[in-house]
């Protein structure tokens, strides 16, 4: 099938060299873990343990009875020392369970999840999308009755600058990824399985090709941000646009991140719950690298593990620099969605501008927007609080990739304004 080039996009400096060759290593378990009860999109969990309880590694410590949710497991054996509020990397204040790990940890062992069917096991393992959206995977594996998944796409693009966690996963454990792909393909009945990798990771392509049989295709895509965004990826591979307001399944495609697939393979084959993830720690740190981190580790601890800051730092980002969140406090825990911790030096970070930057109508944002929006227009209206006019320019379709803000020569915080417009439009019931 002919591959398409999605509209717009940019190719920012990758900055991946620092970590793309460094093997994944375990981060030591810290003295305290803080586990927010909402590490996923959907209904927050309710703690199922009390202060003073002993917990085992893999034991459920929070859950809720809702379709769109995912249980939370203790990543260590230890003692619950507090149940209180914490700030998350995203800036929300949510309930959290604090656990003091035992001195001795067996990170190879865990309480296995049990359930009658495969979907049940995935749900019980608390698996959510590790590509960033943290959407409970089992929901995506259960498409509405009237939709059929023809193609399963594993997203190994990792188009964000700085991050290499998916890259290392594909290089070091391609068998887990491919196994996960086959499991998911079987569950949803996909006729075709594609693993998409950007052209800047030839070693990952090679490793995957070695594992993939005839049933799994490896497709190499041009290196262009946001190649890994779901809609753009589907378009690039299938030439189909996900219609406005519809699920990706409307094009017959299902997209999962490669790490999600690996976690699903672990859950199905070994009953392993999701209790740790690979985090790229990079930027101005002494020992940049990819760490396998138990969830709940505080960012400050993780930075210490990586040797601390190696120079002046202006912003610390959870996630990639294009879509991640700047942290106000480093005492926030790593959660299921934290793909990286990037410490940006003053010259590298976007200039700290507050105020009304003029739009010089250069058109770069319009040309760059992968969704064919006119970011400047939405932002202009949002800036003047003309919410109805802003809503008419379809902020709802924005995938928040940040290309527009990135390219703007006057450094307008376009995406931030578009988010406001989006919120206003949603509040008014525009869809």
């Amino acid at each position: 099938m002919a591959r398409q080039v999605f509209r717009g996009g940019v190719h920012p400096p990758e900055h991946k060299e620092a970590t793309s060759a460094s093997a994944i290593q375990w981060a030591p378990v810290p003295a305290r873990l803080v586990l927010p009860m909402s590490q996923h999109l959907g209904a927050p969990c309710v703690p199922t343990v009390a202060v003073g309880d002993r917990v085992a590694r893999g034991q459920v410590i929070g859950s809720v009875d809702a379709v769109v949710s995912a249980p939370i497991h203790s990543p260590v054996a230890g003692t619950v020392t507090a149940i209180s509020d914490t700030l998350t990397t995203g800036g929300a204040r949510v309930a959290a369970v604090t656990i003091e790990p035992d001195a001795e940890q067996d990170l190879e062992g865990y309480l296995k999840v049990t359930a009658d069917d495969e979907r049940g096991r995935i749900r019980a393992a608390g698996i959510v999308g590790l590509g960033g959206a943290t959407f409970p995977s089992v929901v995506k594996l259960t498409p509405p009755k009237d939709m059929h998944i023809e193609v399963l796409i594993l997203n190994g693009c990792e188009c964000e600058p700085f991050l290499t966690c998916d890259h290392r996963l594909m290089v070091e454990q391609p068998e887990r990824v491919v196994a996960g792909a086959r499991h998911i393909g079987r569950i949803v009945g996909a006729k075709r399985i594609v693993i998409a990798v950007e052209s800047n990771k030839p070693d990952a392509v090679e490793a995957l090709r070695a594992e993939a049989g005839d049933d799994v295709e490896i497709q190499v895509l041009p290196t262009r941000y946001p190649q890994g965004a779901e809609k753009q990826l589907i378009y690039a591979l299938l030439g189909a646009e996900v219609p406005h307001g519809k699920l990706p399944a409307a094009t017959g495609a299902l997209v999962h991140n490669v790490a999600t697939a690996a976690a699903i393979a672990d859950a199905l084959e070994h009953g392993k719950p999701l209790t740790e993830r690979i985090v790229t720690v990079t930027g101005e740190v002494a020992r940049p690298g990819n760490y396998r981190v138990v969830l709940g580790t505080l960012v400050s601890e993780l930075i210490e593990i990586a040797g601390g800051f190696s120079g002046p730092v202006e912003r610390v980002i959870a996630g990639g620099p294009m879509t991640g969140q700047a942290l106000a406090s480093l005492d926030v825990p790593v959660t299921k969605g934290t793909s990286g911790i990037v410490a940006l030096a003053p010259g590298v970070a976007a200039p700290a501008i507050i105020g009304d930057q003029p739009c010089i109508r250069c058109g770069r944002c319009t040309v760059g927007c992968p969704m064919g929006l006119e970011p400047y227009a939405i932002a202009n209206y949002a800036n003047r609080r003309m919410w109805d006019s802003a809503a008419a320019r379809r902020p709802i379709d924005c995938i928040e990739c940040g290309v527009c803000s990135y390219v703007c020569p006057t450094r307008r915080p376009l995406l931030q304004l578009i988010r406001l417009a989006k919120a206003a439009a949603l509040a008014k019931g525009v869809s």
Partner: protein, 295 residues
């Protein structure tokens, strides 16, 4: 005098007049469409020249809009005040009704509130509030980037040097738009109070007192002095936060004077202070009691 010419002129113009008026009056009958009688009345009051100066297609459209309540009775620019009055009369007293509530700010933090980071981005409270929980340590306090000021259609709000919005109780119509636009208005940072409210609370944080004190030096510390001092039983510390009971409050100002944190403030129209209407003048201003004393 040229009688023939005159005859021709009269003939020609009356012919035209006859035809047009005859056609029109038959058409008026034939194509008659029912309309709300008030629309007719308002049309009658409007100039009817369909000048378009108001930006609307015709006087009729304006009348329909006014009757439907979509546009104010003052819409007609060409007609000016006299027409506005006439229209308002047709539409009844509802046209320019007096506000019964006005807006008050429930935060006195400003430069006294602890900030946890330097914010970079759009100067908008709503935008800042979405980043890492907002730049203030206090989750209830005013972010101070002036969304309310920009949103107020009546120019009633202006940001002061402390970075707090000051509401002009005379201009405020109680429309509530700022309450909706403030990202923390849905908490109780901005609140609609009775128009005559003489006293407002300048703290609305529901954290524990200890947390509150760490976050801001202007917070209510729940010391209950106001509650004890109030001669009218109009202010109570409920859930560790003082709340004014406007049913009972007379605006005597006893609580304002006694509050060690100075987080109770005068507000709105006050008797005794020369009908001055103001927001946030603080305890230095003469209270009615002081004014009486001095007099």
């Amino acid at each position: 005098m040229d009688l023939v010419l005159i005859a021709k002129a009269v003939g020609a113009l009356s012919l035209i007049g006859l035809i047009t008026s005859a056609v029109l009056s038959t058409a008026a009958k034939k194509f008659h469409v029912e309309i709300d009688p008030r629309v007719g009345a308002v049309v009658g009051a409007l100039p009817g020249s369909n000048c378009g100066a108001c930006g609307r297609p015709s006087c009729f459209a304006v009348a329909e809009g006014i009757v439907a309540g979509e546009i104010p009775p003052t819409a007609c620019v060409a007609g000016g005040q006299s027409v506005a009055d006439a229209v308002a009369e047709i539409m009844g007293a509802a046209a320019c009704e007096m506000a019964s509530v006005i807006c008050a700010r429930g935060c006195g933090g400003g430069d006294k509130a602890v900030r946890v980071y330097d914010y970079a981005g759009v100067p908008s409270c709503a935008a800042a509030n979405r980043l890492a929980g907002g730049p203030l340590a206090c989750a209830w306090g005013c972010i101070g980037l002036g969304d309310c000021e920009r949103a107020c259609p009546f120019d009633a709000i202006s940001m002061d040097a402390r970075g707090l919005p000051v509401i002009d109780p005379v201009k405020c119509t109680g429309c509530g738009i700022c309450v909706r636009e403030c990202p923390r208005g849905q908490l109780t940072l901005l609140e609609l109070v009775p128009e005559a409210a003489p006293i407002v609370m300048r703290c609305n944080a529901r954290d524990k007192v200890k947390v509150r004190r760490a976050n801001c030096t202007a917070c209510c510390i729940a010391c209950k002095k106001c509650e004890r001092e109030c001669p009218h039983d109009a202010i109570h510390v409920i859930d560790m936060l003082a709340v004014v009971d406007y049913e009972k409050c007379t605006g005597c100002g006893a609580c304002v004077e006694v509050c060690p944190q100075k987080c109770i403030d005068f507000y709105g129209h006050r008797s005794g202070v020369d009908a001055v209407a103001a927001d946030g003048v603080g305890p230095d201003v003469k209270t009615p009691a002081k004014a009486v004393e001095e007099a």
